[in-house]
Symmetry: D2
Subunit: 366 residues, 4 copies
């Protein structure tokens, strides 16, 4: 993972205490392919400057517009602000031809998300959405196995992202319906499970039925969602999303059942992929094995038995992005999610709200 | 587990090669509380006689009516014939005041099941239904924990019985809609998951929504079911039942989420119960620990670290039944399922079929 | 597992509260191949009688000599008394041509154990020693894999039986050097690990080095032993035995490393066997799979996904014994351990004591 | 983990294809606390220059002496060359007052290692040795638990680093007795297990007994070692080291048994720490829990449920080093290993060779 030259990156948001901004920075730094050179870390000039200094970031702004105007030569900007500002900020940079990594959900509604996708395309640049879990080596291997037919026809999928991070009342913007959306469980974690399902199977959902509910009494948003899906090959699937699953650590887990084999991956142990066979035996594949697909092998930095976790997956995302920025026309079959995936995620959130309003009736996806 | 006198048992069905009859017999024998003294093992007299001899069964019949008439002093009869004969056979013995252990589903429809329940009651005897999983020590402990409020209010339940035993085409009566029912996945395994959910939580379902599907192409029954439930305390729940989950061994698994803790049990490792806490830590409880509830402790035969499996759970069922037969008025809070549970199971199957017919719309349970 | 006729069994020891006697009885009953017809359960006549009644045992004695003299037609006697009485009791029955199942350690020293072996042989009967763990289906499969060369040459073995049952002070005969022996950890659990190692690998130890120690302060016996072994093919091995491993449930675990693959089995999950391959991938084999060896398959009663535990393994031991009693000349390659195995176990205990006395120097095994 | 200023780092060794150099660089970069500014990556000037460019390293040398002389303002140099050159290179920088991170084994013998330790001390600088496993959050928490008495007195420790990376013949310097040492299993992996044992328990070994062996036929070094240890509190311990454990991924695992509880950690799942209690119950602690000790909590970058692996642990090592470089007098109780630990590791290797020469007799440690 060496580079011709390091790419010049900027960041909007991600000030002191913001976990996701921290993750983006570690991911940029890990492989030394990016220089984080410019940023807006706070609306307060002093705070922003001080934080930038602590990070070794040279150029600091207090306003993204100013940054978009004055910066020249930026390769990519990471947008890690609250959801409601994504659109304006991403637009400002995309229109200048700067690639954007925009946290999900891309925007608050599918119309504006579609607009962002169009802007990126019109300006010939990349809009990337960090569904990081698809950048784990063993997820890539899973996707490769499905693509190569090792599971046979996919007959059923059970996906869940059932976290316990908000199993007690929390004071956080995701619990404010105006900021996190009413279907916050779907927007926050459900879209990750949904993207993972799409990424591994290569299938889309054609219709869904969703029941939204509130597990923590008094919470003004839906912190739980159970979703049925019909996939594009006709197979049924289920998806469960919540942040109120008391005691669960992270809870992203997927099982894909094919006619010939099934596979299971979960984020608590991202280094392994379990493949189950019709006779009831199972094979455990491990990150770093010589015999994995190239899609997985190329994402291993240190060697078998040396766990690589969330930040390495995040760095894989940035590494693939770097490849795309340098040679956009040589896009791999299995690479990072883009604005279209972000848009599909928002359409999914909207469909769950529509279904719920119809007493969990079926809703077609666009 | 000593006895005053051994109980006299009979069996109808369970001839050579029938797995479930075998399990009943091992369960009766394990604790030496039952003498299997009479039976109908085949319609062919010679076969029945020969098989009875091999089992050490003294009195053998070729017809259940004959057996019901001629046997005196039977304490209990196990009915392990195909589903469509359950009603007549169970009726014959219940009407004579003999307790009946009848395999589930009790009958093919809820009306006849309700009739059996009424007959048992009218004759002052016991109709027991072997949802064996509720007789595992750690399931009993789980039920005790919920009863004692250790989880707080139950907020969500995820139950599944997703087996791979029929992930390829099989020639078996459960795949014949006339014998196993069209919703065979629900009748065969779904009712186990449903009973387990009810048993551990002490809650009933008030309404359900079900999507039935066929995972193995060409199969004339539904071998897969995804069910949403609303529980009697208002909490949502999901249940997934299939016998076509490629590669899964047995696949009965339940997670119960409360406000204060959650718990997980699965049948691949029945000796342990995982309790998860709001801080993300987990406690693993093991069969045989001194600190378990009496409900669990009394079901341990050998001691911690000595796994007890399906047959011991089955023997627990028969042991609890022996207790009930000897002192029916001293019924424990947590004991074996009876005809009412069998009836509720059939109502559940019928509700899934009704919901499916309505495009997975909600259906109220009786 | 049907029978021509049920075998007539007796028991000496195993009165109220004795765990191991309980296990033997459940094991005899489970498959209904044995009738427990006679016994000495206490030196007190009333207690013995009462307990026998509770078990459905017809003939009861207060003295083993009386029983040996008066009983005719006994097929087998289980000797489950304290160690120091094994010799006399076993001898009494063996000399009458009655097969004996004698708990380990067979006797308190190898000389008397060898004498018992000789007596059994001279009288043309069977002396069996219940190292039950070798009767698990997956242990049998492991032994078969090694025999069939699937691991290649065995290059290293790591065996341990590290239980926590006596991690705190306990008042029990095994902590009395006169009753349990000074090397109680080796005698109690170490011999199980040692037998398992021999059973799976088919190798013997030619020399050992042992360090004995006392983990619970003030205990007058060695409750911990670490042993190095040189196996008969020259491969090194280790064995760790203790009953003071705080918090461990049962702790019997073995890993066998071959040139071509390795395998791991542990008693907390006896249903599975892990096979590891040179590329770092692993295969999990499950009890009940169609594709297992006959040695494993024939020990499955109910079917894949239905756990069978310690009592089923114990019943496998009695089932194999029944086979041997009925057709001694048709002995299987992989069957139950006999007096010779019991003798080898005692030689092992003695060797650990000798090595310890020599500051853990090497000691040759007979 | 922000910085006052980034520290200036150099590297000697770690050219194209060298795994350990790669790990050091990712670790330096991950938190952006270091600028890798100078290096010797090859004896060939062109190769060294080209590789440095690919890494964004400004100043490149072809000889470490030249680098030591010409570089001014270096805070630390990572020495990742083959073992036999460690001494000269580390010495050159330490004598100039530059801190050194030197791969283990520090040198080829304890005398020269002791000399390096003395040189570092005389020059008032830091010599750090990357036993990275001690920088995992859950290992730190384990060490804290022992320090705080949560286990009571440590009564036994079982440590192993049993990897399968060289279970088949490999052509590598570690299999050359002149380069990797004859006890290559101890030097390569055994020292990691030994350091982990010392780090978690806070105990030293006073004497050891070791059996060295060769598992892969024809290998001119010992690729397997079983070690007995007597710890400084009198407790016995075992350590097993090999790189020929067919099929094992990484295989670093430690269990520490105390009078009141035991704990287990293994590198295949570094995010969790299992604590076992005298009643047989277990508690699973997870990286990121709010309730962990500060020693663990401060090493979490992203949050519970987001696995952090080997590179994050390596970055923790570099982060602690940065703290020490900035404020050496404020050394934490639980921080990174230094030259003394490296020296103790070499003494351990030497003791295993001495013991082996004496037929595994006991050897006192310095």
């Amino acid at each position: 993972m060496t580079t011709d030259r390091r790419l010049i990156a900027g960041m909007v948001g991600g000030g002191p205490g913001a976990m996701i901004g921290t993750a983006h920075r570690h991911a940029m730094w890990l492989d030394n392919q990016y220089v984080l050179a410019a940023g807006v870390f706070s609306r307060d000039q002093h705070t922003s400057r001080q934080f930038a200094d602590s990070l070794g970031v040279d150029r600091v702004y207090t306003d993204y517009r100013q940054m978009a105007e004055q910066e020249h030569g930026l390769d990519v900007v990471a947008v890690v602000t609250p959801n409601d500002s994504h659109f304006e900020i991403a637009k400002a940079f995309l229109e200048k031809g700067v690639a954007v990594v925009c946290e999900k959900p891309l925007t608050n509604d599918s119309a504006s998300a579609a607009e962002l996708v169009a802007i990126a395309e019109a300006n010939g640049t990349i809009l990337a959405v960090p569904h990081i879990y698809s950048a784990y080596a063993m997820v890539r291997h899973a996707a490769r196995m499905v693509r190569d037919g090792e599971l046979g026809r996919v007959r059923f999928v059970a996906a869940e992202h059932a976290s316990g991070w908000a199993s007690a009342p929390v004071d956080q913007w995701r619990m404010d319906p105006d900021k996190g959306g009413v279907a916050t469980a779907v927007a926050d974690v459900g879209t990750h499970a949904y993207h993972l399902l799409r990424y591994i199977t290569g299938l889309e959902a054609t219709r869904i039925s969703a029941e939204l509910s509130t597990l923590v009494a008094g919470r003004p948003v839906f912190d739980n969602a159970t979703v049925r899906l019909t996939l594009s090959n006709g197979a049924p699937a289920t998806l469960w999303a919540t942040m109120a699953a008391t005691g669960q650590e992270h809870g992203l887990r997927i099982r894909v059942f094919g006619d010939d084999a099934s596979l299971e991956w979960h984020h608590e142990d991202p280094q392994h992929l379990t493949v189950r066979h019709p006779d009831g035996g199972a094979t455990i594949l491990a990150h770093g094995m010589d015999t994995l697909s190239d899609d997985a092998a190329r994402l291993t930095r240190v060697g078998m038995g040396h766990p690589e976790g969330f930040l390495e997956a995040f760095a894989n995302f940035y590494s693939d992005l770097a490849e795309l920025l340098r040679a956009p026309q040589q896009k791999r079959e299995l690479t990072i999610p883009t604005g279209v995936d972000g848009l599909i995620g928002i359409q999914f959130v909207e469909a769950t709200v529509a279904s719920h309003a119809d007493d969990a009736g079926w809703v077609a996806l666009p």
